[in-house]
Amino acid sequence: MSAPTRPRPGDARRTRIDELAARAGQVPEGEGGVSLTKSAFRRLRRNPVAILGAVIVVVFLVVAAFAPFLAPRDPLAQTLLSEIRPNSIPGAQEGFPLGVDNLGRDLLSRLVYGSRQSLLIGVVSTVLGVIVGMALGVLAGAFGGWVDTVVMRFVDILLSIPSLLMAISISVLLGQNQYALMIAIAVTQIPVFARLLRGSMLVQRSSDYALAARALGVRKSRIVFGHVLPNSLSPVIVQTTLSLATAIIEAAALSFLGLGDPDLARPEWGAMLANAQAFLSIRPELAVYPALCIIVVALGFTLLGESLREALDPKFRR
């Protein structure tokens, strides 16, 4: 710095390079150890699609959790009965933002309470499906050989039956209650997760780091659960989010077909949709709103799942 009065050209750049050089090789404080999940989460937060999906999902979860506080009325109370005629059902009016259904029950309150049932069935059945499917997938992927063959043939059989047909058969077999519905949907999810996990474990099992771990004498169980499984999970995580959407749609479909929860005290979107069918020409809103709810929730989970797929894809990692 012999000429302090006037900055020479390139001074700024020089100091910047010096600063960079001084910091070279240092890890910025607080950044020691960025795991896959952390960096995926960071990328998720920057993705507007992910945020939209997350907002939708969170809104519905909040609605479901606080339904008793959010619903303006009792979803079962029959009101405005005097105004219901064979060819007219009262629409939106003071105190009934979306009108009432054919039995005079407040539509908005029923939609709010319906979110509980739909989300519960969706989540429980997907969790069940993931657990059983992953167990089968790990079994097939870890052992290979005849275990793999047996498990995969079983899964193939499950997969070859159309999922709705399967769910209907199971609902009929187990009787009509909401647990049967959950199991039925879970069973249709199992093969997807089993195949997915097995496939991705097979790829990871032949990876270099699995070989390197074997070369270090790490025992097989540790290689499977400590190395292969964590690396095989990302497609399963993505599929879980996407499956939630499918499960909710399927639950609605089964309810629509009359195989849902027979307890009329619990409103459910699918059942509401089925009920609204008869009044489509008089009051189409009765069908439109529950359908819209199903679509939006499913969309929320799908958007979240898709952006999760992008976030977990190692090709997008920085």
């Binding site: 090789g25 960025v34 270099d208 070989l211 390197a212 771990a213 074997r214 004498g217 790490v218 400590g226």
Partner: protein, 356 residues
Amino acid sequence: MSIEAVPTGGADPGQSSVLEVEELAVTFTRRGEAATRAVDGVSFAVAAGETIGLVGESGCGKSVTSLAIMGLLPRRGVQVSGSVRFGGTELVGAADRTLRELRGADMAMVFQDPLSSLNPTVPIGTQVTEVLVEHEDLNRKQATAEAIDLLDRVGIPDPARRLKEYPHQLSGGMRQRALIAMALACSPRLLIADEPTTALDVTIQAQILELLRELVQGSGTALVMITHDLGVVAGLCDRVHVMYAGKIIESADRHDLFARPRQPYTGGLLASVPRLDAGRGTPLTPIRGSARDAIPWAEGCAFAPRCDNAQDDCLTEVSGSTVPLEYDGPGRELRCRHPLTHPPVASGATASGAAR
């Protein structure tokens, strides 16, 4: 551990062998396809503290040899025959448990690509301590302390912090150092390095080789260096085995091999190394053809189709057997009927180069 090995008599090279490989052969069979013999009667021995090189171009069977020694080849579709004795224990056909307890503790391996050899979802520390917990009777805390020490020894700065980091946060050289630390965690008596510097840039290569040399010389570990890089051989190996099409075709001490290659293939390899002192524009002198031109050993010398010294008897089965690996002066063995007779001088004295 449970394996009682014959003591090797300390780090005294030449006295006793840590590893003896005899007539090792590996055949890959696939339904509906002809069997492939990737390794075909390979024999060599490594003493404690000794470094040997297995040299050859891609596909000559180097890596398969190393995997066969470690017992890492899949069981299905692979036949391994011959004998691999490690400190008195026969490894070919040994039980999985026996092999697993030896691997990592008494024999270890460093692989080619340091990024893919590390698990991307697990911090470095966990991967290093894993080996220690597996083979030594350490708890997590002791293992972590030991891991910090190990990383420090292989020249990773700030090891305590690095332990918490994930493989993608480390540079290539650092990753390879971490892998070497993992391999040397339990002070194995044998280390197999399968092209450990191929995925690294030149300056890092030199550092890693230097590190390997230090670690091996300090501890009396036997090192098997698998490489196609003659520079690595020149810098590190005591003894060199040149492989071609699954067989060793020439064995010699490092100095003898470089000064006086006898197999035309070895001569060709040496002549094809680019030289800094050659004039500008001097063409490189490759060996003509490629490894795919090899003929089965049963039909003569596998290298004959590419060899400029080849004569009629190279291509025919003469004495009812393949070309034998024969004594060729003290400390040397050679598999060739018409070896190079004079030491080649740089500019195309090898006939292979001149022929182009």
